[in-house]
């Protein structure tokens, strides 16, 4: 325990320093704590309520909604809201929740958690709830394939046993199978009539129980929907929290007879709201409290921003490169969104500087075909992968005269339309928020200065 207290005090001191210099969103104190005491996460006291949010897509939005609601309800919380969703991030999260004597000083910890390393860390934290938003195709470089992620989450739940409740997506044929040894709570959605496109790559190809064919009564997006196996009894579990009516245009969702506002018009964010409502209702909060809170919420700025100039709206919109499911879902949204638009792709990961060809595989699992839509007037792509994007767009059937591929991203503003469109979307990898904002601002500045002649 001596090592633990040294780690606690040293990391507290470091956290105080970073708070003093106005950089509190750092995981460095967590790294220090784990270096001094490798079992720091086991020893640090946890608050009365600990909720872990994991899954391929939607972790940040869902965990932010849960945290912000609990705060609005008067609870004190700790939350790794700056995206550090591994060991060091959890350490800082929990560090914020105890005093110098390791006594809890917050009511609740919300842990946004990486899926792949869940089984290394959660057995030490022993959360009360693990909410799994979904399991989809993600970066192969890090996560491999969805079955691998399933195994890591299931391994975690098996270790934790029935003291941890699994909150699961009933419409996901992958993650809904998790937690057979745990108490399980399901959230699900009735047909929202999203008319999903057919994806090139499948997140799940066959029934996980018998290898049979999976069919759908309806799909919401990708493999998320009401499913059943043609050969065995594998099917969508009965949801405890059912969104019986979802209207994306009006941005409302009715769950168990009560109407809740949505934070955006996208189906994936509707699921994030549904997941948050499910766990908050499970915790005993009233429907009116939750819907009143949701009416004040919008998609976080790190996911979407918009500025308007001269009748055109310029968006930054997170798309997650190499995450096949997220990128394809955003491309589908681009096709369905009714405006005439230009789409700028800033999809190269920062890490790719050291892995320059890694991205080739994800390009051929991601549905670039969805960008072949007459409302998308121009697809503009820059960066070191520009020739690969161009080839992929051509193979997807996008006419060559609607493709602009430039090596230097700084040239992108030169090619953005100023007439005949009402929106410009800068789609970006989530690690590159600042880069996306700078690109959006460069495009607007260029237009303000007279733009393309």
């Amino acid at each position: 325990m001596f090592r633990f207290y040294v780690a606690l005090w040293a990391s507290k001191l470091m956290l105080a320093f970073y708070t003093l210099i106005k950089q509190p969103k750092t995981d460095l104190p967590g790294l220090l704590a784990s270096k001094i005491c490798p079992d720091f996460l086991s020893y640090i006291h946890k608050p009365a309520l600990t909720i872990t949010v994991t899954g391929t897509n939607g972790k940040t939005t869902t965990s932010t909604l849960i945290n912000d609601f609990l705060k609005s309800a008067g609870l004190t919380t700790s939350f790794n809201e700056w995206g550090a969703n591994m060991q060091a991030g959890y350490s800082v999260n929990l560090l914020r929740g105890v005093n110098l004597f390791n006594k809890p000083k917050v009511d609740c910890s919300i842990l946004e958690a990486d899926e792949l390393t869940l089984d290394e860390n959660m057995p030490k934290i022993k959360p009360d709830y693990i909410l799994v938003t979904n399991i989809c195709k993600d970066s192969l470089r890090r996560n491999g394939h969805p079955e691998n992620i399933y195994n890591h989450i299931e391994h975690t739940l098996r270790i934790l046993g029935d003291k941890t409740t699994a909150v699961l997506n009933a419409n996901d044929p992958i993650s809904s199978e998790l937690g057979k040894g745990n108490r399980r709570i399901y959230f699900g959605m009735a047909d929202a009539r999203t008319n999903p496109f057919v994806n090139l790559g499948k997140d799940i190809a066959i029934c996980p129980r018998c290898g049979g064919k999976i069919t759908y009564d309806y799909r919401h997006y990708r493999h998320i929907g009401k499913f059943r196996c043609e050969n065995c009894d594998f099917k969508t579990p009965h949801p405890d929290y059912m969104a019986e009516f979802t209207d994306l245009n009006d941005r409302t969702m009715t769950i168990s007879g009560h109407e809740y506002p949505l934070i955006s018009d996208t189906i994936f964010n509707a699921f994030n709201v549904l997941a948050a409502v499910a766990i908050l209702r499970e915790l005993g909060y009233r429907e009116n409290e939750i819907s009143s809170f949701l009416s004040t919420q919008k998609v976080t700025d790190i996911r979407e921003t918009c500025v308007e100039y001269n009748g055109i709206e310029y968006y930054t919109f997170a798309a997650k490169s190499q995450n096949v499911s997220a990128a394809s879902t955003v491309f589908e949204y681009m096709a369905k969104e009714p405006s005439d638009k230009d789409v700028v792709l800033l999809m190269d990961e920062v890490q790719d500087k050291n892995h320059p060809t890694e991205t080739l595989s994800w390009l051929y699992e991601t549905d670039y075909e969805f960008l072949n839509d007459p409302k998308i007037k121009r697809v503009i792509v820059g960066g070191h992968m520009y020739l690969n994007h161009k080839l992929r767009l051509l193979l997807a059937g996008v006419p060559e005269d609607r493709i602009v591929a430039v090596e230097d991203e700084a040239d992108i503003p030169l090619y953005v339309d100023q007439y005949g469109i009402t929106k410009v979307y800068v789609l970006y990898e989530t690690d590159c928020v600042t880069k996306a904002l700078n690109m959006r601002d460069s495009i607007v500045s260029y237009v303000k200065e007279g733009g393309r002649k």
């Binding site: 089984d119 192969l140 470089r141 890090r142 491999g144 394939h145 079955e147 691998n148 195994n151 890591h152 299931e154 391994h155 098996r158 090139l200 790559g201 499948k202 190809a205 066959i206 290898g211 500087k353 050291n354 892995h355 320059p356 060809t357 890694e358 080739l360 595989s361 994800w362 390009l363 051929y364 699992e365 070191h384 020739l387 690969n388 161009k390 080839l391 051509l394 193979l395």
Partner: protein, 237 residues
């Protein structure tokens, strides 16, 4: 008409591999791709395929694929000897070795899976370690080959019948510059994903091997992308 058999696409298409065949098909109208699903009898055993393709699969499906193909082991050997083209990418290569050993995520048990034993190497999985990611530049028959691997396992053996001599990056494991397997017209590589798109000179080679013209769709663009990537890898590996 040239028939390409895609073996068990529900198992062996986890990293966009189906686009290898989509691309070939679009290069030449003489190519027809036929999928053989789990439970179906492979077409190549009746001599009904000019080329057989298998891509990457999950670790669980490796074992199942070995079970599916074990009854056809001798047919596979005969097909290779008779010169039928096989292109095998990613960890599909491992099932043709003697065995797969190592660990798994869900327990501390060790696995020991008997392979098809068509080639003399074995693979070792390290599921509890970080995933290995790297690229390679190598040479096959005067062609400069590019590859990308992302895996939890490596193969060990002598690799006398290697496919590619690596000069940047690693081969079948970090201690060898020998990559893949090349016997007759069997081409296996650990590289995954859309290998034909990454290697248009090799795609032309395969088209010629099929007895077809070697024109590529979007040839100018794919060659430009290949050259750019080659230069980039020369600088960064």
């Amino acid at each position: 008409m040239k028939i390409i058999e895609f073996l068990y696409p529900e198992y062996t298409n986890i990293y966009g591999e189906s686009y290898n065949l989509e691309y070939l098909k679009r290069c030449n109208k003489e190519i027809q791709v036929l999928e053989t699903h789990v439970g179906d009898t492979p077409k190549f055993i009746y001599g009904q395929a000019d080329m057989v393709y298998m891509g990457c699969m999950t670790e669980d499906k490796q074992e199942k694929t070995i079970e599916l193909l074990m009854p056809y082991r001798n047919y596979i050997i005969n097909a290779i000897q008779s010169g039928i083209i096989f292109v095998v990418t990613g960890n599909a290569l491992e099932i043709f070795g003697t065995k797969i050993i190592g660990d798994e995520v869900m327990s501390d048990d060790k696995i020991d899976i008997r392979g098809l034993s068509i080639f003399d190497y074995q693979s070792v999985r390290h599921m509890k370690q970080s995933r290995h990611n790297s690229q390679y530049i190598g040479n096959f028959d005067g062609l400069i080959m590019l590859g990308h691997r992302s895996q939890y396992s490596f193969c060990y053996g002598d690799f006398d019948n290697y496919f590619i001599k690596i000069y940047k990056g690693i081969g079948m494991n970090p201690d060898t510059d020998r990559e893949g397997v090349h016997v007759k017209n069997f081409f296996g590589t650990y590289s995954l994903g859309p290998y034909f798109i990454m290697n248009p000179p090799f795609t032309k080679y395969i088209l010629r091997l099929l007895g077809l013209k070697d024109d590529l769709i979007f040839e100018k663009e794919i060659m430009e992308a290949y050259q750019y990537r080659l230069e980039e890898l020369r600088r960064t590996i």
